[in-house]
């Protein structure tokens, strides 16, 4: 019995491989938050006056709020005055092309498996990389702009496409939405902006890679994706951070808008530093992600693989406003050691004939706590709304917890909502069966866990699926068939 326990633990041990620090000259402002800091951020980004006003309004509102406590997570009080709100690698000079990016930075991202050098890239993925508070580089920009796709940092969008930013930013996640969204609205530094014009099917995956580097810095990125009528985009997001003993705050906002017949597929592999085995350090990940299916027949699909962060507080949601719209949420959340995750989704059915599907797989190991929290709401006018939810939890070891908190609210008599949840551990029979075929207990656990998560993994674009599998610390010998 003891052996088995040890091998289980062995199997889920996951050494963080992205914990290095890049030694680069960084422009850092002093710790603390007040109006002057916000003015300074806005000034450093050379923002127009309206943007600054927006930030200040958000800040004033944030001051009136209290940090939420309803989630199933525990952490010490965050001192918002002890955080650096702006840190940027110092550019040596004005960049004209990717070739001029600081080689140290390029090698950082090479180490992370992200090649910015376009000719080296095998797959057609356009990448925006954000280190601490600023976007470093965006690839394939020109090719994309030829077909009218705008893919740039949000800072650049504020300068170059103010009318679009003004129109859409805050329209899905208002600055007043919640505590962390208000904070983000006040201090957000960078992030990505994507605009897919009418009728365009974006020919490559768009991807942003987020990296926290500077000590004591918070990361507050903001992503905005607008898909016009009959357009399609698949967007990928990855994140890592160095290993540090202190907790670092990440409070992002992501807004998606899908117009008539548009489709947005948003995939995340979240691997912020989770803290060490004793629970020291790690990222506090408080993220507000929401999409709106605004036009009829539009579709938004969230896929997430959550392996990192000391604390995850995240509920990527879809507002199904248009008729015949579809919302999807596929999630694998893996927690180990002292990690805590409280994650799930909200599907708000407003339009007629709307459909949503939720598949959430939670895997808990070590001393971690893993919660699914979700809301499915069929409002009074959501005729023929359909939802199907499946939440499964797998427990590895007897010191962790797995929890499920689904909320279902139905006000329309033609709606059909179904929810199922199960919790179990890896069956000893399954483990023995694998071992009788000569497979190590560790690998057997990995196989079974991977099988458990497969339905979600299948939703990821190929390159991401492979990275995600590695992240789950599961080494499955190549795949056949």
């Amino acid at each position: 019995m003891k052996d088995k326990q040890d091998s289980l633990e062995q199997a889920v041990l996951n050494d963080y491989k992205y914990g290095f620090v890049t030694d680069i000259d960084t422009d850092v402002i002093p710790k603390g938050l007040n109006e002057d800091v916000i003015r300074l951020i806005s000034h450093k980004k050379n923002e127009p006056e309206w943007m600054l006003e927006w930030r200040l309004k958000a800040y004033a509102y944030w001051l009136t709020l209290e940090e939420p406590t309803w989630a199933n997570i525990k952490y010490p009080v965050i001192d918002y005055q002890d955080i650096i709100y702006y840190a940027a690698p110092k550019p040596k000079k004005q960049l004209n092309s990717l070739d001029e990016v600081d080689p140290e930075l390029l090698s950082t991202f090479e180490k992370l498996g992200i090649s910015l050098v376009e000719q080296k890239r095998l797959t057609g993925v356009a990448v925006d990389v954000v280190m601490d508070s600023v976007s470093i580089a965006t690839s394939f920009k020109e090719q994309l702009s030829e077909i009218g796709v705008i893919f740039c940092s949000i800072s650049e969008a504020i300068q170059q496409h103010p009318e679009l930013v003004k129109k859409y930013m805050g329209s899905v996640v208002p600055m007043t939405d919640n505590y962390f969204a208000a904070l983000n609205s006040a201090v957000f530094t960078d992030g990505s902006f994507c605009f897919i014009p009418k009728g365009v099917r974006c020919p490559m995956e768009l991807s942003t890679y987020f990296r926290i580097n500077t000590e004591n810095a918070g990361q507050f990125e903001r992503t905005l994706i607008v898909a016009e009528d009959e357009s399609y985009v698949s967007y990928l997001e990855g994140c890592t951070a160095p290993m540090r003993d202190e907790n670092q705050l990440h409070a992002a906002v992501v807004e998606l808008l899908a117009m008539e017949k548009a489709e947005i597929k948003y995939s995340t592999v979240q691997n912020w530093y989770p803290g060490d085995k004793e629970g020291k350090g790690g990222i506090y990940n408080f993220v507000t992600k929401r999409g709106i299916c605004k036009g009829d027949y539009s579709k938004i699909s969230w896929t997430q693989v959550e392996t990192g962060s000391a604390i995850t507080w995240k509920y990527p949601s879809v507002i199904l406003k248009g008729d015949h719209t579809i919302g999807e949420f596929y999630s694998v959340a893996f927690t180990n050691n002292h990690q805590q995750a409280d994650t799930g989704t909200k599907m708000i059915h407003l339009g007629k004939n709307t459909r949503s599907r939720i598949v959430a797989k939670g895997i808990s190991a070590g001393f971690s706590q893993n919660s699914y929290r979700g809301l499915v709401r069929a409002s009074k006018h959501a005729t023929n709304a359909r939802n199907y939810s499946q939440c499964d939890s797998l427990l590895l070891g007897d010191k962790c917890g797995a929890h499920t908190f689904p909320y279902i609210e139905v006000k329309n008599k033609t709606a059909i909502v179904e929810h199922e949840a199960t919790t179990s551990k890896i069956g000893e029979d399954q483990l023995f069966y694998c071992r009788q075929r000569g497979i190590d207990p560790e690998e057997a656990v990995a196989l079974i866990v991977n099988g458990f998560a497969k339905e979600v993994m299948n939703q990821l674009p190929m390159e991401f699926a492979i990275e995600a599998q590695k992240l789950l610390a599961i080494s499955m010998e190549g795949s056949v068939g």
């Binding site: 939890s393 007897d398 689904p406 279902i408 139905v410 059909i416 179904e418 949840a421």
Partner: protein
């Protein structure tokens, strides 16, 4: 503006009148909790979907009643002539209206006060008001603050009483708004059996509010069968809390039927505090008019190898609201727990609402737990089939809803009670 200050006067009055030391101490502690917690609001997680403050827009007087034996006779349930009938009027246990058939070698029925001052001092001290860790809100505390004419029942070791227990909660609202806060403690001793059916009746058209707390302690090898029938008037609201604590390996079976009422909230808390406990919980709510029914269940698996199964089904028609909140907790020691839960709902009207929230909180790994819930409609195909055979739509719907109810009703074991409930349901569904 809600004024709760009169409770203070009533509380102080009660402390003076009824000076029993032990109970007074519980009242004091509860009243402090009530003052601190106040009334639950929509921000209170456990009360997210049920607003209760409207029940406190009026004051409830503490005055006598005029219920007679003839009144009681008119409300009796079938099988009563073979049952021990316990009558509470306005929340106070009334010996003169009650009728105990069982001999005291099988079952002892005492006022809480007599129990705590006599041979049961230690037992009552040990078990009364000991489940407050599960419900910390002001409503629950309010009951504790006004414990007075409660009842204590002891089912004696090794006894299976020949006569079941019927409890009638009568609220006399013919003159005034009535608040009743009945309180009971039942001790089901080793190798014994409790069969209990509770029902609630409001007389008169003024508002009534029954805030009940019942605690049942179940010892080794004992069996509990508990039926609750809620079919009161639209002006009658209630919060009905049952704590069942299984302290020995034992078997518990409950069925809660909710048909009519104003705001009805049930808290069914099962504390599985011994290895190998088994619990089966069933519920049926068929809601019409403006009835708001909220069933909260909690299964706390504290010891290994416990089994529990829950099935709650219901419909919401007209402007009614149905809430289900089923919480399953598995504590770190409770390995080999099997706990299952199913909640099925049918929404029949666009003015009705169904909110359901199953919860799993699991801290042990060798467990099998699952919950499922659905919200849907009557089977259109079946409805059409019946109509095609010449059955009018309304009647066909009643038939289908009766069929829908059947798999919960099948778990009402006493035939007299089951037939009674079936009749109530037929009448309830047939009103156009």
């Amino acid at each position: 503006m809600i004024d709760l200050t009169y409770f203070k006067e009533q509380f102080e009055q009660l402390q003076l009148e009824d000076a029993d030391e032990h109970i007074a101490a519980i009242r004091k502690q509860s009243f402090d909790t009530f003052n601190k917690a106040g009334l639950p609001t929509f921000h209170t997680e456990e009360w997210k979907y049920t607003g209760i403050s409207s029940l406190f827009n009026q004051t409830y007087a503490q005055i006598g009643h005029t219920i007679t034996a003839a009144d009681v006779a008119a409300l009796r349930m079938p099988g009563h002539h073979k049952a021990n009938e316990l009558v509470f009027v306005n929340g106070r246990f009334d010996f003169s209206l009650s009728n105990i058939l069982s001999s005291d070698t099988e079952m002892k029925v005492l006022s809480l006060k007599d129990a705590v001052n006599g041979e049961y001092r230690d037992l009552v001290g040990k078990h009364l008001n000991k489940s407050t860790e599960y419900i910390k809100d002001g409503i629950h505390a309010l009951n504790g603050a006004f414990i007075t004419e409660g009842v204590f029942i002891h089912i004696l070791k090794g006894k299976i009483p020949h006569h079941p227990i019927y409890v009638y909660h009568i609220l006399d609202s013919r003159q005034h708004h009535t608040l009743a806060q009945p309180r009971s403690l039942i001790y089901v001793d080793e190798n014994s059996k409790l069969q209990l059916t509770e029902t609630y009746v409001t007389l008169g058209s003024s508002d009534s509010f029954c805030n009940e707390v019942l605690e049942i302690v179940v010892e080794q090898n004992a069996i509990v069968e508990y039926y609750k029938i809620q079919n009161d008037t639209a002006n009658a609201s209630q919060v009905s809390t049952t704590h069942i604590r299984q302290v020995g390996r034992s078997y518990v079976h409950t069925v809660a039927i909710t048909l009519n009422g104003g705001i009805v909230r049930n808290n069914m808390n099962l504390i599985l505090d011994a290895t190998g406990n088994e619990a089966h919980l069933y519920g049926l709510y068929l809601l019409r008019g403006k009835t708001h029914a909220d069933n909260h269940t909690l299964i706390d698996n504290r010891k290994p190898e416990c089994f529990s199964n829950q099935l709650y089904k219901g419909i919401a028609d007209d402007s009614s609201t149905a809430v289900f909140n089923g919480r399953i907790m598995v504590q770190p020691d409770a390995q080999k727990t099997n706990s299952f839960q199913s909640n099925k709902n049918i929404l029949l009207s666009d003015n009705a609402t169904i909110n359901t929230k199953p919860q799993l909180e699991i801290f042990a790994d060798d467990v099998k737990c699952s919950h499922g819930c659905t919200v849907g409609q009557l089977d259109e195909e079946a409805l059409f089939y019946l109509r095609a055979r010449g059955i009018p739509k309304e009647k066909a719907e009643v038939l289908l809803l009766q069929a829908y109810s059947a798999d919960v009703l099948a778990h009402i074991k006493p035939m007299a009670i089951r037939a009674y409930v079936e009749k109530l349901i037929y009448e309830h569904l047939s009103i156009v």
